[in-house]
Amino acid sequence: MGYWRFVLRRLLQSAPTFALITVLIFLLVRLLPGDPASAMLGDRATDEAVARINASLGTDLPIASQFLRFLGRLLSGDLGQSQALHVPVTELIGERMPVTLLLAAYAMVLATLISIPLAFLMALYRDRPLDIALRGAFQLGLSMPTFYLGLLFLTVLGAHLRIFPVGGLGRGPVGILYHLFLPALTLALGLAAVITRSLRAAILEVLQADYIDFARAKGLSERVVLGRHVLRNALISTVTLFGINLGQLIGGAVITETVFSLPGVGRLLIDAIFGRDYPVIEGLTMCFAVLVSIIFIVTDLFQAWLDPRVYR
């Protein structure tokens, strides 16, 4: 069956991607100016102290032998130990990744809930006051820097009105959803703005296509036309957008995590880059690669399912 062969092929295609990413990240990290020991020890360290730490980390070896060590470790499933935190990288990722994933998923759900109904409204009332007002509102959300929007939410809804907590991670499913609402909303608004805009354009385009006229002419009710034909086709472009925005969503999570003091991987990554914590950068990058690949595959599969022409 075509669909399952497509799935299998898609999975096989990911292998070279990983190989390439692994090599790339290994090299990029070592091309960065500065060495882990100086970054760890700071300005005061003596040359001997720096040399000693670099020797114990193995970062003074030729790059080829470092790569062999790295591969050997990787193949045995070991991502190494954080140089700055003295904790295994797998443990760090295990602690932090769920926070970021939950935040991203939460933001996506909120973004979908916001954008699909509004995009329909806007398309149906195109260029009328409602459409123009909503576009203005979204533009506002899109144009505000994340940290500014986050701080605004925190100040107004958190500190002053005390409806939501000021940052942090709650306890229990309800507590966590409650604590994560503002950060997720902060992330979702930017995403919703992008998606609503494209969705609106896609709906308009579909509404003008001949097959919709045909469907109408067949006497199908507006509800069926909108629900079956328009939504389905509009979803294709939305799913694509979700896929390509996810990387950015995780990137945007860095600043959101800082503003809302959430212990996610975004902050871990930034700290690791600035601290030249090689194993953490490598581990996280590869972890991201796996994740984003999975999401791409799911996106592609979903797209293929919505529009079978893609895999034929």
Binding site: R44, A159, V166
Partner: protein, 528 residues
């Protein structure tokens, strides 16, 4: 013969009383939540590298002696007294009777020997230089330790009050998995046991750290019962300055560190809060590269002391303090923070005098000015402010400064390679002694005077002599000469000293941050 019998009560009460509410009796129990800007990285006294560890370690690990509240001397800690032999080559310390670690096991002389031997191992960490004079440590009796020195060392008492000599339980440490001491330390530091006022209960990295009362802690409170007053101390990690303040204002935390000085006035006016500015050992300055040529081979104008002096005269320190720290700070009086023992703190250096700056530049052959560049830490509001103000003020005397923002690791790498002209710098002392800052700033054999290439044989000789000089007056004279010569040669631009800014909710009493930066929660309580 030098013999100091230190008594607890006077000095300790002095230390604790400075922020206390003298009338009300302390309230026992309860939890305090303190918002920190960064989480700790490595709770090992010997192998840590950063202030995020150093400043909280004393709550977990106690030392033989403790820094006094003003940062200039020491008070008793796990040792009640120390005694120096007439030749000043042996120090004997008497351990306090009945002291225990947080797991209930007694603190023995063997634990002290183990801890000091590990701390002074030249291969362990980057703090062992402070104990370099020690020849050997012996456990003379279960409650008596003897330290023999290679040469007399005036810094030893201060070193024994510094975080890296925190006493650790040998047996518990050695029971950790791992082949080497470093491996064991990695494991031990995740659930450390010391003899400090608190012990670690929970640690969720970059989210929160919970310390609970150590029931075996020795120091008594004002009510005669042992400290600490708090049952639990909870650190929440809130890296964003604005969010940290919002949490405090929203009542979600009881205190917050690293308050931007821009907001100090606003918070001081909040009726629910107390804005505290603790005297610090923090100086902000610019390091000049003083070698004759730059890394790319071009001649370096900063090699001429007159140019460096001119650049110092061209800076209006009061304007700096006004713009960068909103009036909270004071001009530097020496390269050392004025809270450092033996610091010369008489008058601000290089008072603002643009005419003199122009004259000196003309003398040096730079009447038309020249181009300079400064490395600053990317994204640091304070570095940008310092460099922007310097850019503007030097522009007035014809010196054109360009700014280069670099991430920390890149900046450190270029600094170490001497590949820079000017860089921003901030220093805080870790030890209550002038030797640490002098070794980095002025004594060239260590790190070439902050990698500036500055070298003064008289300063180098004075410093070496001072490290063995146990006569306080002679040592003070050596340090006076070091400071005079350094300040005159001006291998740095002397900017300002600043306080530690902490905001607390009104009922919080007895919290202290000493000039070395240590956060002292032992006598903290939440009043009514």
């Amino acid at each position: 013969m030098a013999r100091w019998q230190l008594t607890i009560s006077a000095t300790l009460l002095l230390a604790l009383g400075c922020s206390g509410n003298a009338d009300a009796a302390p309230v026992r129990g309860g939890q305090m939540i303190y918002a920190r800007a960064w989480d700790s990285l490595y709770l090992d006294p010997v192998l840590n590298d950063a202030n995020v560890d150093i400043w909280v370690l004393s709550n977990l690990y106690d030392t033989l002696l403790e820094p006094s509240a003003d940062g200039k001397s020491v008070t008793p800690g796990l040792a009640t007294a120390y005694e120096l032999s007439p030749d000043r080559l042996t120090m004997a310390l008497a351990l306090r009777p009945g002291i225990r670690f947080a797991d209930g096991t007694p603190v023995l002389a063997s634990d002290v020997k183990f801890s000091l031997d590990r701390a002074r191992d030249p291969k362990a960490g980057q703090w062992n230089f402070m104990l370099a004079a020690i020849d050997n440590v012996t456990a003379a009796a279960p409650d008596r330790v003897e330290i023999r020195l290679k040469h007399p060392d005036p810094t030893l008492p201060a070193a024994l009050a510094t975080f890296n000599t925190g006493i650790m339980p040998e047996r518990a440490f050695m029971a950790e998995p791992g082949a080497t001491l470093d491996d064991k330390a990695e494991s031990f530091a995740r659930h450390p046991i010391g003899a400090g006022p608190f012990r670690l209960a929970e640690w969720h990295r970059n989210l929160s750290m919970v310390l609970e009362r150590n029931p075996y802690y020795w120091a008594p409170g004002e009510d005669g019962k042992p400290l600490p007053y708090l049952d639990t101390l909870r650190f929440e990690i809130v890296p964003d300055d604005a969010t940290r303040i919002l949490k405090l204002q929203g009542g979600e935390v009881d205190g917050a560190e690293f308050i931007p000085l821009a907001r100090a006035a606003e918070l001081a006016g909040d009726p629910d809060l107390q804005m505290r500015l603790f005297p610090a050992s923090e100086v902000t300055y610019l390091t000049f590269m003083t070698r004759p040529t730059l890394k790319d081979g071009k001649p370096n104008p900063l090699t001429d002391p007159r140019v460096r002096q001119a650049l110092n005269y061209a800076l209006d320190k009061d304007a700096f303090i006004h713009v960068v720290h909103f009036g909270n700070g004071k001009p530097m009086t020496s390269f050392m923070p004025s809270t450092t023992p033996l610091a010369v703190a008489e008058a601000p250096l290089y008072p603002f005098d643009p005419a003199r700056a122009k004259m000196l530049l003309a003398e040096a052959g730079f009447a038309k000015g020249f181009d300079l560049s400064v490395m600053i830490r990317a994204g640091s509001a304070e570095d940008i402010a310092v460099a922007s103000v310097a850019q503007q003020m030097w522009g007035e005397v014809g010196v054109r400064l360009s700014l280069e923002q670099l991430d920390n690791a890149t900046m450190t790498a270029r600094y170490r390679a001497g590949d820079f002209q000017i860089r921003t710098g901030t220093w805080t002392n870790d030890i209550a002694d002038p030797s640490e800052i002098t070794a980095y700033f002025a004594y060239s054999p260590n790190i070439e005077s902050q990698h500036s290439g500055f070298k003064d044989p008289v300063i180098d000789a004075d410093f070496e002599a001072s490290q063995k000089e146990t006569d306080p007056d002679k040592r003070a004279a050596l340090y006076r000469e070091i400071q005079t010569r350094f300040d005159e040669a001006a291998p740095i631009a002397f900017l300002f000293e600043s306080p530690y800014a902490v905001a607390l909710r009104k009922p919080v009493t007895g919290f202290d941050q000493i000039p070395l930066g240590n956060n002292i929660f032992a006598a903290t309580y939440i009043g009514d």
